[in-house]
């Protein structure tokens, strides 16, 4: 079963029916029950992990014990489970083809739980019950692939939602756009047409070949990931929830900091709130906080040396950009619109190349292959 299997649509239809046809007070819990059934049916391990950690974290937090120690214990517990499964996936304790290698949605609901724990610690959560928290985590539309939406926003819509045909039609439109992105743009245009074009023009040119392959990888990632996000956001809209956006034309970014505000924004926001701000306030060194948050962002994808390098690469990129901003203020502002336009195009070109080169680190199966590619690309220098 994948998000593209025809069987998934039956679950979607039942979800929409439960979200609107049940008595009002059972509609959102009904969605959660369906999510639990779905998880129990396809990935029971994930169901037990999610349910177990939800109960443990909620009742530990509400136990009234010392807040800091409870916060640290619960965050450590969630992080330990996440890291355990991520490491298993990477060092091959299980076969890669195993369907339940990393429990469904673990990366997403772990970060949602940590968000809940931190916000509770800061006393920033609105009044709510255990059922509200359970419904927030057992929410089928965002279970697969995010976005990592926030609890206060979820609770607001859970309480205010009512049938709105405009919202529902927007949701259907988003789902359609999502599937067009996944099936037509990513799968056909990028992975078939662009791939054959790239192979044709780059034969005999190792640098161009790797560059175009990294570009294809990045485009495929963007269109698939944003397509799945569209499906999740669209489905949420149909059942009356407005979920935060995950992508905002990242390939139009004019600097690397801007790129991370546009690419997987819900994860970037999470890292900003729960890694960058705490580290920056503890160390008083924003550059250290930037690198730390990008490192966590990298490790969230996979606990591996490759993703450590990728996180550091982006972290150092953003840190350099921030330093450049300090130098930039000594130069006069560009007022000519043509020069400004050219400067934006050049900035976009540099940013995109930085991102594309970064994709080489993650697209290869191991670090040795990455080094081989870099060596191959720059063989003309040796």
């Amino acid at each position: 079963m994948t998000l593209l299997s025809s069987g998934i649509f039956i679950w979607f239809i039942v979800l929409i029916a439960l979200a609107w046809l049940l008595p009002k007070k059972w509609q959102v819990p009904g969605v959660s029950v369906l999510t639990a059934v779905f998880m129990g049916f396809y990935v029971p391990l994930s169901f037990f992990i999610l349910f177990g950690t939800t109960v443990i974290t909620y009742y530990l937090i509400k136990s009234g014990r010392k807040k800091t120690s409870v916060m640290l214990t619960t965050v450590s517990l969630i992080s330990a489970i996440l890291v355990f499964y991520k490491i298993q996936g990477n060092i091959g304790w299980f076969q890669i083809s195993t369907e339940h290698l990393i429990p469904l949605g673990l990366s997403y609901y772990s970060f949602r739980q940590i968000h809940y724990i931190f916000e509770n610690y800061k006393n920033k959560l609105p009044p709510h019950s255990f059922l509200d928290y359970l419904c927030y985590l057992f929410f089928l539309p965002t279970l697969f692939i995010g976005p990592i939406h926030r609890f206060p926003n979820f609770l607001r819509y859970a309480k205010r939602r009512r049938w709105d045909p405009v919202l529902a039609s927007k949701g259907l439109e988003r789902i359609l756009y999502g599937y067009v992105k996944i099936l037509f743009i990513a799968n056909f245009l990028v992975n078939e047409l662009f791939l054959s074009f790239a192979k044709e023009v780059s034969s005999g040119h190792p640098f161009l070949n790797e560059y175009l392959d990294a570009t294809r990888y990045g485009l495929n990632l963007y269109f698939q990931f944003s397509g799945y996000s569209d499906v999740a956001i669209g489905l949420s809209l149909i059942i009356g929830f407005k979920i935060i956006e995950n992508f905002n034309y990242p390939f139009l970014a004019v600097n690397i900091s801007d790129f991370w505000k546009r690419w997987h924004a819900s994860l970037s926001d999470w890292c900003r709130d729960y890694v960058y701000y705490p580290v920056a306030s503890a160390t008083r060194r924003p550059q250290v906080a930037i690198v730390s948050s990008m490192l966590i962002l990298g490790l969230w994808h996979a606990v591996s040396f490759q993703y450590v390098c990728w996180g550091l690469y982006h972290g150092l990129g953003i840190a350099c950009w921030h330093n450049f901003q300090k130098i930039k203020i000594v130069f006069p502002d560009i007022t000519n619109k043509w020069i400004k336009g050219f400067s934006n195009i050049l900035s976009n070109f540099i940013t995109m190349n930085f991102v594309i080169i970064g994709f080489i680190i993650t697209k290869e199966p191991d670090m040795k292959s990455v080094i081989d590619i870099v060596r191959k690309c720059f063989s003309f220098l040796i």
Binding site: M1, T2, L3, L4, S5, Y42, V43, E99, L101, I102, P103, L104, G105, L106, S107, F144, I145, E173, L176, Y177, Y179, V180, I182, L183, F184, A186, N187, F188, N191, N220, L221, Q224, F225, Y228, H301
Partner: protein, 45 residues
């Protein structure tokens, strides 16, 4: 999308265009439908 079209065309033309637009998109999904998409490892199924 429909609101966007209404800014530039009359209601009748916008109605026709929006139906054509959705029909074209649905046709694309139908024609290119496959479960065999290129690897995307963020899906943890």
């Amino acid at each position: 999308m429909y609101v966007f079209l209404l800014n530039y065309f009359s209601k009748t033309v916008a109605d026709i265009l929006i139906v054509a637009w959705y029909a074209a998109l649905m046709a694309l999904v139908y024609l290119f439908y496959t479960t065999d998409v290129a690897d995307f490892k963020y899906i943890e199924l």
